[in-house]
Amino acid sequence: MTAPFTLPSKHEEAWRYSDLKALEAAMMLPDAADAPVSEALSLRDGETLALPLEISAGRASVSHSIAVAANATATLSESFKGGGWLNPATTIHVGEGASLTHHIGQMRDEAAITTARYDVEVAKNATYRVHIFNTGGQLGRVELDIRIHTGASVDLGGVLLADGTQTIELVTRFHHIAPDATSRQTVRSVANGKATVSYLGKIVISEGSQRIDAEQSSKALLLARTATANAKPELEIYANEVKCAHGATVGELDKRALFYLATRGVDPAEAKALLTEAFVADAIEPIEDEALRDAFTEASAARLREMVRGPQAKGPQAEELQDTGAGA
């Protein structure tokens, strides 16, 4: 299968911070031997769908379409693994009065390229909650276009973690096309080494979409001065009776807090781990499902510990060796 993909240019706003070189190289890859098959799936009330997406090498595009029945409550849990270039385009329809909890875990191999696109329609009075953990590969990109209808509510939590020379990005476009809806986005990014994290979040409130309550909070933390964080909030508002709040910050770990932890006996790596875990917690805490929330917390804590301790202490084994050394 050939990818329906032409290389974007840096002049396109949504791609200006991306790693196009990595993408260009990925386009030369042969088709993956184990490419997944595109499917049309529907979710009924009470259903949970686990959707693993994995190729070992090469490139693959896949287009799933997922529909959640009206008034149904369902869960969709996606995990991206493996190598090569994975290019999924997914359309999701959350039916009237339905509620979908969607978990996206992008934990692909070191050299992998991921470009995931979602087109989501959130129908009247429906609820869509999406939690994104984006951390794997040379380029890890998740893009969401969400159309929000009357009385609907959308809640997005994103954690972007990048180390080495990774580029990890999240691009969202929230279109409020009808009145009386709410949307909330909380994104926390951490970059180390020479990595780049980017969050481009656009909110469009169309004419006549009154009484919209939209909120966007983006915070990035740089663990090294050589790392980069980009934040681009964009608001286009064509209605007059709306609440639209946004805030974006980029910072470093609080030196006073690090010293405070040191005076209490906490070693620098552990102190950094504690503070970065607390930093990303804002984007994880809103997850209602406890098991999902715990899994998300654990996955990001493990990755953050790897980042602050350096590559020599990847697994628990390496960590134990280090502990023995310190205790001797």
Binding site: L261, T263, V266, A326, G327
Partner: protein, 246 residues
């Protein structure tokens, strides 16, 4: 226990400590008093190893070891505790997580087994109760939304749990009302013992009504200019630093 000899330290290129010497033995309580800008806080930060506090001359031996050969967290594990004048707020990290991580990090460095969650909870609840800190506050983020008095009580809870050999308390009494001062004093007195020592850094003598020191030193212009017993504190209060330190 603590042997400071001819300590010189600079902050941002400016010399603040100019040949400070001080000897503290186990079981003793020392108070360092002095006017603003004398170098009181600098002494605490230099001992604890804060970034930007550079030692240019002199030596400090702590429990027979060269203190400056140790990283800040290693100094804590060796038994040094610095009570901060302005305890730091750490959003998102609960007091329980903070203190349990600290205690176990110290124990690990000393080659001792970690404390179990249950034992730790018992210990911290007991100490919090003794020091009048609401157990509910232990679940909240470190010092976030705490009043000045609550922050100082929290410092005392941390000290009680970590049980240091030497506590250096930097203006732990500042900003406290009389009730909080009594509780904090009680916390300090509780860790007094033949194997421990306390260095109180303070501006006013009122704390010394409750925690009676063995020695009082006057710090002025980066060095200790006068040493006496607790009556020196009263003299200072009466006549002012300018007269006594002259």
């Amino acid at each position: 226990m603590l042997e400071i000899k001819n300590l010189h330290a600079t902050v941002e290129g400016k010399e603040i400590l100019k040949g400070l010497s001080l000897s503290i033995k186990p079981g003793e309580v020392h108070a360092i008093m002095g006017p603003n800008g004398a170098g009181k806080s600098t002494l605490g930060y230099t001992l604890a190893g804060r970034d930007g506090y550079e030692v240019t001359d002199g030596s400090v031996e702590f429990d027979g070891k060269d203190l400056f050969a140790l990283e800040p967290h290693e100094r804590a594990a060796a038994g040094l505790f610095l009570g901060l004048q302005y305890p730091v707020e750490i959003p998102g990290v609960s007091n329980l997580t903070f203190l349990r991580t600290a205690l176990n990090s110290q124990r690990k460095l000393r080659g001792e087994p970690e404390v179990s969650a249950a034992d730790f909870l018992r210990l911290i609840r007991e100490k919090a109760k003794e020091l009048g800190l609401d157990a509910e506050m232990l679940k909240r983020a470190v010092n976030v939304g705490f009043s000045g008095g609550e922050k100082k009580r929290n410092e005392m809870v941390q000290m009680a749990v970590l049980s240091p050999k030497l506590a250096v308390l930097d203006e732990t009494d500042s900003g406290l009302d009389i009730d909080a001062l009594k509780v904090v004093s009680q916390g300090i007195n509780a860790i007094r013992g033949p194997d421990r020592a306390i260095l109180l850094i303070t501006h006013y003598q009122r704390l010394l009504d409750y925690v009676v020191p063995d020695y009082v030193h006057v710090l002025a212009n980066g060095r200790i200019v006068k040493t006496g017993d607790k009556s020196l504190a009263l003299e200072l209060e009466r006549e002012g630093y300018a007269t006594v330190a002259a």
